[in-house]
Every structure is written in C-alpha cells, then in structure tokens.
C-alpha cells in the first residue's frame, strides 16, 4: 500500500468543498465571523478610527453620557473617551483570548497526542496530573497563579495557559484513542512506519478538527476568564485600556454614570458571543459526535 492510498482512507481527504459550502450556509458561523471580523478590524485600525487618544484625560468632560456631542459612547471618570478606549482595548482583549488558547492548544495537544498514542505509564501519569488540575474549580487556579506571579499581562497569560492545557490534553487524547485503532493507522503500522511519523502525520491531522472546534469555544471562555482576572485586579496595570478593568473602575460611579461600566461589559459579551457562535457552528459542522445537546 502506498502513502497516497493511506491518505485516501483517512476521513479528511476530499471533504473540503462541502465543508466550505456548509460553513457559508451556517448562520451561527456567519454571525460569529462578522462580529469577530469587526472587532479585529477595529483593533487593527485603532489609530485611524479612534476619535481620541485612549489615554488622554480631560477633566472638563468627566462622566459625559453616551451620544454627547463629540463623545459617541460618553467619557469615563477621568474624562477619557470610552469609544477610543474600547477600540484600543480590543487589541488586549483579542490577545488575552487568542494567545493563551493557541499556546495551550499546542502544548496540551502535544501532551495528549503522546499520552494517547504511547499509552502505558506515560499516559497514566499524564492523566493523573490532569485529574489534579481538574480538581481546581474554574478561574480559581488561574487566580492563584496570577496572584503569586504578580499582576500583569505575562502572568495572566501564563495562568490561563496552565489552566487550559489539561482540557486540550484530554480532548486530543480522547480523539487519539478513537483514531488509533482505525484501519488506515493499522495500515501505516503494517508498512513499518515509525511511531513518531504515524502520530504526527496520520493521527494528529484526524484529531485536529475536534481540537480546533474546542479551541474556538475555549477562546470564548477565555474572553470571560481574562475579563474576570482583570476585574479582580490581576490585569495589566493602568493606564493600558483593558475592558475588564474599565468595567471594574466604573463600578465606583455606577449611580451617576452607569455607562462607564456597562459599555465595556457589553463589549466583552459581544466578543464572547462571537467566539461562542463560531465554536458552536463549527462543532455542529465538523464534529457531529459533539452535537449531542441539540437533537
């Protein structure tokens, strides 16, 4: 059996056109993609589209309401333009959502791939370590790591990566266990290919779909996780515009200027919805096995 015919047996071979067609016809993905694209565009063109310098504080225009002349979304407690801060803040929001997910996907994916494919003691040890990590509820471990390292962008990303590695490890390991026994993997083994080559070239591509779906959903969760950490005071230090911190800072003036808090919150919700729609849609399309919740 040649290399070519092994690839033919693998399920991903010629599905691309129909997947693309289904992608475009899926309204969840379309809406999600539009939301994310708009936020990415705003972040990329911040210098061009932001009406003001996000750090410029004008004490004469403190707590201006949305739709005030010259300030579409109003101003905050220091008289800074909220729209400009939101636009610049989109950079950090996207960064802390996407980067930890990608790093965790790569590290967790590799660990899961090796554990699932090698099996035995290594698999056992990895799974027990993951069990321990899963014993920490949600943001709690991230909070502990972030607090120990001290507030800042780096420690926030490290904390988020550490917390999400086990989830990716487990998803990829589960996929590998299922794929490992498929005929095309047996065929590759029969051809005498090395374990490393089989794991990387034949197993990995076939668990990537599930991992990417999961990564998209995790990005949505990371939007909230990052916002939560910055709300608790673990964000990059001011004056860097950060949505979670803007929300938190506005709490003190909730009674007189609610928009200072509510608008950044809305931005966080919108970004999370974008990634969640993308992830939900992708899951329905690419991984029917995970579509159990919507019969």
């Amino acid at each position: 059996m040649t290399n070519q015919s092994i690839a033919d047996l693998a399920p991903t071979a010629d599905d691309t056109p129909s997947i693309l067609r289904r992608l475009l016809g899926n309204s969840a993905i379309a809406i999600g993609a539009i939301i994310i694209a708009a936020i990415v565009l705003a972040a990329a063109l911040a210098e061009v589209i932001a009406p003001y310098d996000p750090l410029f504080a004008n004490p004469l225009v403190r707590h201006k309401l949305p739709l005030s002349a010259g300030y579409l979304l109003g101003t905050d407690e220091l008289g800074r333009d909220i729209l400009s801060r939101l636009i610049y803040g989109a950079r950090l929001a996207l960064l802390v959502a996407v980067v930890p997910t990608l790093i965790a996907l790569v590290i967790g994916g590799c660990i899961g791939l090796i554990a699932g494919y090698a099996g035995g003691t290594w698999d056992h040890v990895v799974m027990r370590v993951f069990d321990v990590m899963f014993a920490f509820p949600g943001i709690l471990l991230a909070l502990g790591i972030s607090a120990a390292l001290g507030p800042g962008l780096g420690s926030m990303i490290i904390a988020m990566v550490v917390v999400t590695i086990p989830t990716f490890g487990r998803v990829v390991r589960g996929g590998v266990l299922a794929v490992k026994e498929e005929p095309y993997i047996e065929a590759a083994r029969a051809l005498g290919y090395g374990a490393f080559r089989i794991a990387l070239r034949h197993v990995a591509p076939n668990v990537l779909g599930a991992a990417i779906v999961y990564a998209t959903l995790q990005t949505g969760r990371n939007v909230i996780l990052a916002a939560s950490l910055s709300f608790l005071g673990l964000a990059p230090q001011p004056p860097t515009p950060d949505w979670g911190q803007m929300l938190s800072a506005g709490r003190t003036s909730l009674a007189i200027a609610a928009h200072v808090s509510t608008i950044p919150g809305l931005a966080i919700v919108l970004l999370a919805i974008g990634f969640n729609l993308l992830g939900d849609g992708a899951r329905d399309l690419l991984d029917p096995r995970m579509k159990r919740e919507q019969p």
Binding site: D131, L143, F231, R251, T262, A272
Partner: protein, 316 residues
C-alpha cells in the same frame, strides 16, 4: 454500589495530595520569594534573613513541602498579614457565608433550570425554543460580575427594591428577612450561568427521552401529557442533568469570588479579592486549597448520587 463509592473515595486521596502540591507550588513561583512580598523593598537584609529563617524558606524545597504538609494536617494554613489572623480562622468564619450563597444559587439554578428546560422541551422548534437558545447564548457569554452590575443598576439603584451590598443592613439589620433581601441579587448573579447550562441539558435530555418508544406507549395508553413528563420522561432524563449540576459546583465556587466582590458579600471570595490587592499570598493559597478540596468533595457526592439514580451503576 458500595464498592463503587469506596473506590471513588479512594481515588480522592491522590487527587487531594496533588492539590496540596499545586497550592504549595504557588509560593515557589513568586518572583523573588514570600519575604519580598511580605516585607516590601524597604526592609533591611537582616530582617529578611530572619523572617526567611522563621518561615523555613532557607530550607530545601522538599523540606519546605513536608513542613507545609505537617502544618496543614494540624489545621495551620499560615498567617494572613491582611487580616492579622491565622488564615484558617478567617476562612472558617467566611466559609459559612460563601456556602449560604453557593447553596442558594445551586437550588435556584437547579429548580429554575429544570423547569425552564422542561417548558422549552415541550415545544421544540417554536418561538419559545428559539428565544431560549438566544438567552442561553447571552447568559453563557456574559461575565458574571457584569450581570451582577446590571441587577444592581436596575433593582438596586433604579427601582430601589433591593439592597445592593453586604449581607445585612448596617442600621437595624439582622434577621432572616434582611438576609433574604440581601441574598436575592447575589444568588441570581451566581445562578445565571449554571441555570442556562442546566436548562439546556434538561431540554436536550428530555427531547432524547420524549422520542423514545415507551413514551409513545404511555401516550397511546391515553395518559395525560403532564403526567407522562413528570412520571416517565423526567426521571429518565435525570442522570444526565445531575452530572451537569455536579459540574456546575466548580463554577459556583469560583463564581462566588466574583459575585461576592460585586456585592461585597462577606465570604471567602471577597476576602480573596482583598487579599489579591494586598498581595496576601498565604491567604490566597489557603483559599485556593480550601475551595479545591470542597470541590473534590462535592464531585464525590455528585458521583455517589449519580450511582444512586443510575440503575446501570446501582446494580453493578
């Protein structure tokens, strides 16, 4: 079933051991060390060395871990410099308040979640169902503290119906009525996310069951729909729903940190928030450890409960 529960209990031991390793490691990753955090940059080198020696930080890591464990086993979690009290005693005082909030949120999320999920499952594909899907998407994409702020804004500040912070009124406070009034908004905030997930799972589990043969048989016997749902469909959908409720326990514990901060609810979460700004690492370490162990125990109880309601495990 007993052997299942015993096995499951034994599995907790290595996990809890691992949890102590991780929480111990938190002090090891501090840039510099704990003494730098506690004394700041102005203290003299002699004072640093003295404190380092007193805390045992000049010992090898493994010795430090064993000393940490021996203190832990005697209930000593260190001293909080923020509260000037032993960490264990602050956590002990606050645990009840966090538990009140977590339990009430679980009850609300479970009761409303199952009710709403059932209500929606009765008419799949309807306008009600679509509205539900959108509502779930919103609730799951919402930072819990933001939802809390919206509640404060509406029910607290605009309508003036509910108190916005604390557990009891400062003036003439106390009593169950006062506590309940203070609990409404934090409970809803904490419950919102879990409620959405429980409702979604109830809906999908019920839809799975409703299309099965024995429900069709029940219908053909002329049983009333409410009775079919309550007596035949819901009990069979329960195992899946219980699993999800159990998974929410972790969210409720960590969500409490955020919710308590928004509403100044005097629980472990609010104390941890204060400890973060004071860089009170021993307190954060103790809080993380306690909540993780509570989480492990809750998961154990949920698994035992699951075994109880699921005949496949019960009979094995």
């Amino acid at each position: 079933m007993l052997s299942f529960i015993v096995n499951r209990a034994l599995q907790m031991i290595p996990v809890i051991f691992g949890v102590t390793v991780v929480t111990f490691a938190l002090t090891q990753i501090i840039p510099g060390d704990l003494v730098d955090v506690m004394l700041g940059s102005t203290a003299s080198e002699d004072a640093r060395q003295e404190l380092r020696h007193a805390l045992g930080l000049d010992q090898p890591v493994i010795v430090q871990y064993f000393s940490y464990m021996s203190h832990l086993l005697s209930g000593d979690l260190g001293r909080s410099h923020l509260f000037s009290l032993p960490v264990a005693s602050v956590l002990g005082d606050r645990l009840v308040n966090t538990a009140i909030l977590a339990v009430s949120a679980t009850v609300v999320a479970t009761a409303l979640g199952i009710a709403i999920g059932t209500w929606v499952a009765l008419k799949p594909g309807s306008l009600r169902d679509r509205g539900f899907t959108v509502a779930v998407l919103f609730l799951n994409s919402m930072p819990p503290f933001w939802f809390g702020l919206l509640l404060i804004l509406f029910f607290g500040l605009s309508l003036g119906l509910l108190p916005v912070s604390g557990m009891y009124a400062v003036v003439d406070g106390g009593g169950l009525g006062d506590l309940l009034a203070h609990m409404v908004m934090p409970t809803l905030t904490l419950a919102a996310w879990s409620l959405a997930i429980i409702a979604r799972m109830t809906r999908s589990a019920l839809l799975d069951v409703i299309n099965s043969d024995y429900i069709r048989t029940a219908r053909s016997r002329g049983l009333a729909e409410p009775r079919i749902i309550a007596n035949h469909a819901l009990p069979n959908a329960m195992p899946q729903v219980i699993t999800v409720i159990g998974l929410q326990a972790g969210f409720l514990l960590s969500g409490a940190v955020l919710t308590e901060t928004v509403f100044s609810w005097p629980g472990i979460g609010l104390a941890m928030y204060q400890a973060i700004s004071a860089r009170d690492i021993p307190f954060i370490q103790g809080g993380v450890l306690l909540l993780a162990i509570v989480f492990v125990l809750i998961n154990f109880v949920v698994d035992a409960l699951y075994a109880y309601v699921n005949p496949k495990i019960k009979l094995a």
